[in-house]
Amino acid sequence: MLSNTKEAQEYRKNFYQYYHQKIIPALSKYEDLRLKTKNMFCVWAAVSVILGCVSFYYFYLTMHSEPRNNIAPDDFLCLVISFIMLCVAMYFTKKTAKDFENFVKEGVFTTFLSFFGNFIWSPTEQFPESEIVDSALFDSFNIYNSDDYFEGQFKGLNFVISEIDLKMRTHDGKRSHTHGVFKGVLIKFSMLKPFSGRTLITSNNKYFGFFQDLIGSSMQKVELEDVEFNKMFDVVSDDQVEARYLLTPSFIEKYKNLREVYKANDIRASFLDKNIIVAIPCNRDMFKLGDLFKSMSDAEQFKELFEEFLAVLSVVELLGLDSKTML
């Protein structure tokens, strides 16, 4: 996925050794549990399929009852009961897989993450919603889900990483519509470079379309010298000088490169309260571990997980956040 920086290559080389020495020994105890959980998962999945067929059968009967609109009470009752049971079975199917994933993550992530530094993973914590709103990076939303949450220190910088999914549900008469606002990874790093105002980088034409009302009139558009950058992104700030202090010509180049590296046109960043929050859109489920249908010794899932972490942490190097001058 990423990245061909010198440091990333060094990390890859070291991780191979670390995987064999530290991670593989920690995995053996999970294999039996995986097999048991997989069987349980298959049972729940089979029950779901059977209940699905039963529900469909009763649904068919109620829809084709003769005469029309004269549904037999027994058929309807069976439909309701089978449907409720189907929902319960589906819930347990999903829960079985998720519980195993969390169990493995809880046990293995500590070892895995210590390769990168002092990291903590939490299945329950969330990126604070107030900070997401304050970052002003997104259009308004009323549904917020998050999956994995990591925090710790990397290269002397405090960070928070979380997978988030923001949606907006609107009601139009009796019907409700839900549309996605943002799905991807949110990364917050503390900044060494001191600043006091707020500056936003959004993909082109996003700001004036979506965020103007949210932030108010104190934010002004910042026209930078880089024509290519101006075409790709909109920059707004409440301090024209500070915006340029943060977005130096060197940072501008790095940010353009970040867009290339992640192949994400809609990459956004917000400088606020001594931190930078970077939002990288991504449609797939990241930081996955504990796949029931893959052996615990399957190195591929760790390779993928490692690359995902490397990609996210490379933001520090790619944007030069670990130096005060961000060069």
Partner: protein, 193 residues
């Protein structure tokens, strides 16, 4: 009122609105340049305030750079005393460029004085100084962006026509005069080695 009068009124009304819009645009751009120029001044003030501390410490250690230190001191005094407004903008820019060149030379010379490099007060002063220099560079970029916007309006028709009527003219950029000045002074470079 006949049709001819109505058309005449519409044309006059349209022209008046156009004139007003162009006028407002020019004034806004001119004020933006003033704002940007003032923001440079704010940052320069920080630099002037910090310079005596640096010069005082440098004076103790850099016995072979007396001439350079004196030059910097002299230029600083001139810069502090110079009134900064639109009328002497070109002079101000020239003086600041000269001062920055000399400061750059002073920073390079620090390399030759290991004792100075390890002096804690100097290290702190230089770090603050580096931050100030970055802010100055940012303020200059803001100023240049505002000047570019104004100069385009002043030189391109139809606003050029109105600009000469209301006395708005092009303004000079804060340009880098030599290669040494091209990169903002980064005092950290001299202390991190």
């Amino acid at each position: 009122m006949n049709n001819t009068d109505l058309i005449f009124l519409i044309i006059v009304g349209g022209l008046s609105i156009l004139l007003y819009v162009v006028y407002v645009g020019l004034i806004l751009k001119k004020n933006k340049v003033k704002e940007a120029f003032a923001s440079i001044d704010v940052q320069l003030k920080k630099r002037y305030d910090l310079m005596p501390n640096i010069l005082m410490i440098a004076n103790k250690f850099m016995e072979h750079e007396r001439g350079l230190i004196e030059d910097v001191t002299k230029l600083r005094t001139q810069a502090v005393n110079m009134k900064s407004d639109f009328s002497n903008m070109e002079e101000k820019i020239k003086l600041e460029n000269e001062l920055q060149t000399k400061l750059g030379q002073l920073m390079v010379s620090v390399e030759n004085y290991p004792q100075l490099k390890s002096n804690e007060t100097m290290v702190q002063a230089m770090q603050t100084f580096a931050e100030t220099e970055e802010h100055i560079a940012a303020a200059r970029r803001f100023y240049n962006a505002a000047v570019l916007d104004l100069n385009n309006a002043v030189e391109i028709f139809p606003s050029s026509f109105f600009a000469s009527m209301i006395g708005v003219s092009s303004l000079p950029f804060f340009e880098v005069e030599n290669e040494q000045q091209r990169e903002a002074i980064n005092a950290n470079d001299y202390f991190s080695k």
